[in-house]
């Protein structure tokens, strides 16, 4: 529809020009009048006529959403003719047309409307990962646009599709508002990947993924991977005991995703210690070294704020049943011969095992030395210059003590 209204007043009021107002054309002094469509589609070429005396140079300025531009035309046959090109009308919104010739001016309004939605409609989902606890939520936002890139008109209907981890697909009807659409994506109780996409009219687009992950695990337990081996491992300072968590799963049975960190804490004869591991298939494993002396080691674990309610107690018995010791006086001191020291089963203790020797008399003499066993034996020379009277030799290997007297 074309409108042409000419108002011959020196001062005109241009107020509250909403998109549906019929008074799209105003004029000021000098007999100028602007004739233009009240509405046009985005990207369309729009003809504009300005009534003016022949030979008058008319400047037409178009003020749009994202800029303004001015063009000139000389009136002929009582009209100066302009064409608003697609570069001017591609952005939706209200365009004010201001015609000027000398001191005369006239204005008109043109509403550029967005076209129908076109592919693709690209949804943006955030947060990308939520907890499958039935209370967490994410959101999908999309800006369906027309062929010129304008968001489609507010009030346009659209539909959000969501494929849940269990394969179920549900939909949510939404409406364009403030140039975009959005929908909440509440979490379910089944962990896994969701696919989300949007349709508006005949247009659709790619999916966006939404991961629902397990909530923090319910309280879990620790246990040796090989319970039999755990009971036979001795305190040799070298053996390893593997322990594992129970299956880490949230209250809805969703197993914690691979890579979930588990922290292990233990207390033993060497003091507290800490280690960490990650879950594979919902279970985390860790190897714990046996202490060098017989003792009980207590292990606890924590994952995403959940701590094992009770510690796992591992008891390590002595690795050596007896420490043979022979001591005799020799020139320059006392010769101490240790061994052969055998571990359970009759084999030598591993080479390098420490033998700690304490030589003392009844008074103040006391000498401490040590040596490493090779083939279960070691010979040490202990000076005895200050010793007087009877002397006691005490040798400790892996927590087991052997003695000799001189």
């Amino acid at each position: 529809m074309l409108l042409a209204v000419s108002v011959s007043v020196s001062v005109s009021v241009l107020g509250s020009m909403g998109p549906a107002r019929p008074e799209a054309v105003r004029s000021a002094a000098g007999g100028l009048a602007v004739t233009a469509p009240e509405r046009a589609g985005a990207g369309q070429a729009v003809p504009v006529q300005v009534t003016a005396a022949d030979g008058v140079d008319v400047a037409l300025t178009a003020v749009g959403s994202l800029g303004m531009t001015t063009d000139h035309a000389v009136a002929a046959g009582g009209t100066a003719t302009f064409t608003l090109t697609a570069d001017v009308t591609r952005a939706a919104g209200q365009i004010t047309l201001l015609a000027r010739a000398g001191n005369a001016s006239a204005t008109a309004a043109l509403v550029v409307e967005p076209g129908p939605p076109v592919d693709p409609i690209t949804p943006v989902v955030g947060a990308r990962s939520i907890v499958a606890d039935g209370t967490d939520r994410s959101m999908v936002v999309a800006m369906p646009s027309d062929a010129m890139g304008n968001s489609i008109a507010d009030g346009s209907p659209a539909r959000v599709f969501r494929r849940h981890p269990d394969g179920r697909v549900d939909t949510q009807d939404v409406t364009m508002a403030h140039l975009l659409l959005w929908g909440l994506l509440p979490s379910g109780t089944v962990a896994g990947r969701n696919d989300v996409w949007v349709q508006a009219g005949d247009a659709t687009g790619p999916t966006a993924s939404l991961d629902e992950v397990a909530a923090p695990p319910v309280p879990f337990t620790l246990a040796p991977v090989d319970p039999q081996a755990a009971t036979t491992t001795v305190a040799d300072g070298q053996s390893l005991v593997s322990i594992r968590t129970s299956l880490l799963a949230d209250p809805f049975g969703n197993v914690e995703p691979d890579g979930t960190a588990v922290t292990f804490d233990w207390t033993g004869p060497d003091g507290p210690g800490t280690g960490s591991a990650v879950t594979i298939a919902g279970v985390a494993r860790m190897s714990l070294a046996a202490p060098a002396i017989p003792a009980t080691v207590t292990v606890t674990a924590s994952c995403r704020g959940t701590v094992t309610p009770a510690g796992l107690a591992l008891t390590f018995a002595s690795a050596v049943s007896a420490v043979p010791v022979v001591a005799e006086r020799a020139p320059g001191g006392i010769a101490v011969v240790v061994g052969p020291v055998l571990q359970s089963g009759g084999a030598f203790v591993p080479d390098g095992t420490m033998a700690n020797v304490v030589v003392a008399d009844a008074n103040t003499y006391r000498t401490v030395t040590s040596g490493r066993l090779t083939d279960g034996k070691v010979q040490l020379a202990v000076p005895d210059d200050a010793a007087s009277g009877a002397v006691t030799v005490e040798v400790t290997v892996l927590g087991t003590v052997g003695t000799a007297a001189l």
Binding site: S10, V11, S12, V13, L14, G15, S16, M17, G18, P19, A28, A29, A59, T61, V63, G64, S65, L66, G67, M68, T69, T70, D71, H72, T85, D87, V88, R90, A91, A92, G93, Q94, I95, T96, L98, R100, G102, N103, S105, T107, V124, G126, A127, R137, S138, M139, V141, M143, S145, M148, G149, N150, S151, D154, A177, H178, L179, L180, W182, L184
Partner: protein, 544 residues
């Protein structure tokens, strides 16, 4: 002593030098003409470049109550980041339009909005400045990366064309905005012009302004004014006792109003708010009214300065707008002379803009603009703008009656105000000495002419001399000049005696003239004596 031949040689040499200088001047002028006729105008001379970051950026955005009360609440830091990005985006549009530089648009827009902004043709000079924005949050995504806003009151100024074809469009508009967080920066993804709630279009050609606007309010009644200009010495550190003494002296002169012309940045600086309020508070008990002159010293009235002007004016009106001593706002003193940074069209659009703002902020106090010449004040659109039509009188008092009559005809029902500035009392170099008696004569003529033409609002000169200006009615030491006695109502204005012999004798012009005359006479006498002596020495004459 020069011989006659020597004098002739000297005159000849001076003639040669003068001829050479004239020849060089002609060549320079011709070169300028050629350059001007062969060079196109520098676009920057016709169109102001828009700043990439407006000076008042941190004051340009206000927030309406949020329209988004669900899900995520916007963090204060995010709000600041968004408003900063939004102001920059508007500035980027202006930069692109005025210079063609695409970088700012690329940095502040995203997706189709960026494409659309850069697609708009730039065939003619246009520019956009944003002055103020009122944002309302409509949507904030859960991941904090998308916002939808409504700019419910975007105040924008646009210029199109240059010189006589320039049009300034001052509008209030509404925009729907979507901004997205990309690479750590907020960018405008969609900007849609939803509505135009007000448009004021200003054009100026041939000395006539055309304003298409929405103002229909009746003029505000203005009181009778018998004023002098006043600038507190040492402002803003002027002691209260000094102001009180100035007020007492002004009251003693018989004036009822002071026209305060404090430089605008000193007037509106936040630190001076109490001082300005104190000035007005002291005026009431002293029996004086105050006219505050705005934008004094602000030489740039182009749209680039409007945001700052609006902000300062709003602050000032908030501080003193309700003071009963304030009887008139003078929006600008001689704005038509401030064409260094703004075009005549932009100056008039600025005045229309600020008057409109002023009427919104303080609708009960009358408004005027003091033009430098009657012709500018008589411009019908400018008359429509104000409640009192003011103009300066700086010509001869004899011209005043015609000017007042011209103004009265143009002002219609609006009263007119005469701002007179008479000759300074600094002696001057004129044959008619700039004396205090001459000032008194001129002041008397101005006041008499005003009275004869029923002009009941006048402001004459300034209260007191200052170091650089001796147009005061009081000398720098506070003593009264003869003209000071003329401002009291009922003072005799006829028969005021002008400059006397003493004034002429002490004037610079006549001192120099007498000195030159003395030396000329001395030279002629000496020359006569010399000539007579030479004749006596000529051959054939007897010498002894």
């Amino acid at each position: 002593m020069l011989s006659t031949k020597g004098i002739k040689r000297l005159i000849a040499q001076a003639g040669l030098v003068a001829g050479a200088l004239i020849a060089i001047g002609i060549v320079v002028l011709a070169t300028r003409v050629v350059i001007l006729s062969s060079t196109t105008a520098d676009p920057a001379s016709a169109l102001h470049q828009v700043a990439e970051l407006p000076a008042e950026a941190d004051e340009m955005v206000d927030w309406a109550p949020d329209g988004w009360a669900t899900e995520r609440v916007m963090e204060p830091a995010t709000r600041i980041a968004i408003e900063a990005a939004y102001v920059r985006a508007w500035a980027a549009l202006g930069v692109y339009q005025s210079t063609g530089a695409t970088g700012p648009v690329t940095a502040t827009f995203s997706g189709p909005a960026r494409t659309d902004a850069l697609a708009v043709p730039r065939d003619e000079p246009v520019a956009t400045w944003s002055v103020a924005h009122l944002l309302r949050l409509e949507f904030y995504s859960l991941d904090g990366a998308t916002v939808a806003l409504t700019d419910t009151d975007a105040r924008l100024v646009r210029t199109a064309g240059t010189a006589d074809t320039e049009t300034v469009v001052d509008s209030a508009e509404s925009y729907a905005v979507v901004m997205v967080l990309e690479d750590g920066y907020w960018r405008v993804r969609e900007l849609r012009r939803d509505a135009v709630t007000q448009t004021v279009t200003t054009a100026y050609a041939g000395g006539v302004t055309e304003i298409a606007d929405a103002r229909t309010a009746a003029p505000v009644a203005a009181p009778v004014v018998n004023a002098v200009d006043y600038l507190p010495a040492g402002w803003p550190a002027t002691p209260d006792t000094t102001i009180a003494e100035d007020f007492r002296q002004a009251k003693d002169l018989g004036v009822d109003t002071l026209r305060v012309r404090i430089p605008f940045d000193s007037l509106t600086a936040p630190a001076n708010a109490d001082q300005v309020a104190g000035l007005l508070t002291a005026a009431g008990p002293a029996g004086l009214q105050i006219i505050l002159v705005l934008f004094e010293g602000e030489m740039d009235l182009s749209p680039a300065s409007w945001a700052a002007a609006d902000h300062s004016l709003t602050s000032l009106v908030g501080a003193v707008g309700n003071d009963p001593a304030l009887v008139m706002w003078d929006v600008a003193d001689q704005p038509d002379l401030r064409t260094g940074a703004a075009t005549p069209t932009e100056i008039r659009a600025f005045l229309a803009h600020e008057v409109r703002l002023l009427r919104t902020l303080d609708p009960t106090v009358p408004v005027t603009i003091s033009w430098s010449v009657p012709a500018a004040a008589a411009d019908p659109a400018m008359v429509e703008l104000v409640d009192v039509v003011s103009f300066h009188s700086t010509g001869t008092p004899a011209d005043l009656t015609a000017a007042v009559q011209q103004m009265s005809a143009a002002a219609g029902t609006r009263p007119i105000m005469l701002v007179a500035t008479t000759t300074a009392t600094d002696g001057g170099w004129s044959a008619f000495p700039h004396s205090e008696r001459r000032q008194a004569v001129e002041v008397a003529q101005v006041l008499q002419s005003a009275a004869e033409n029923d002009v009941t609002r006048t402001s004459v000169n300034q209260l007191q001399d200052s170091a650089g200006d001796q147009r005061g009615l009081l000398r720098a030491d506070g003593s009264a000049k003869p003209a000071a006695a003329l401002l009291r109502p009922g003072a005799p204005l006829v028969g005021v005696s002008g400059s006397g012999a003493a004034d002429y004798a002490s004037s610079n012009f006549w001192r120099v003239a007498v000195a030159v005359l003395f030396f000329a006479v001395l030279f002629l006498v000496r020359h006569h004596v010399w000539t007579a002596g030479r004749a006596l020495r000529l051959p054939g004459r007897s010498h002894r």
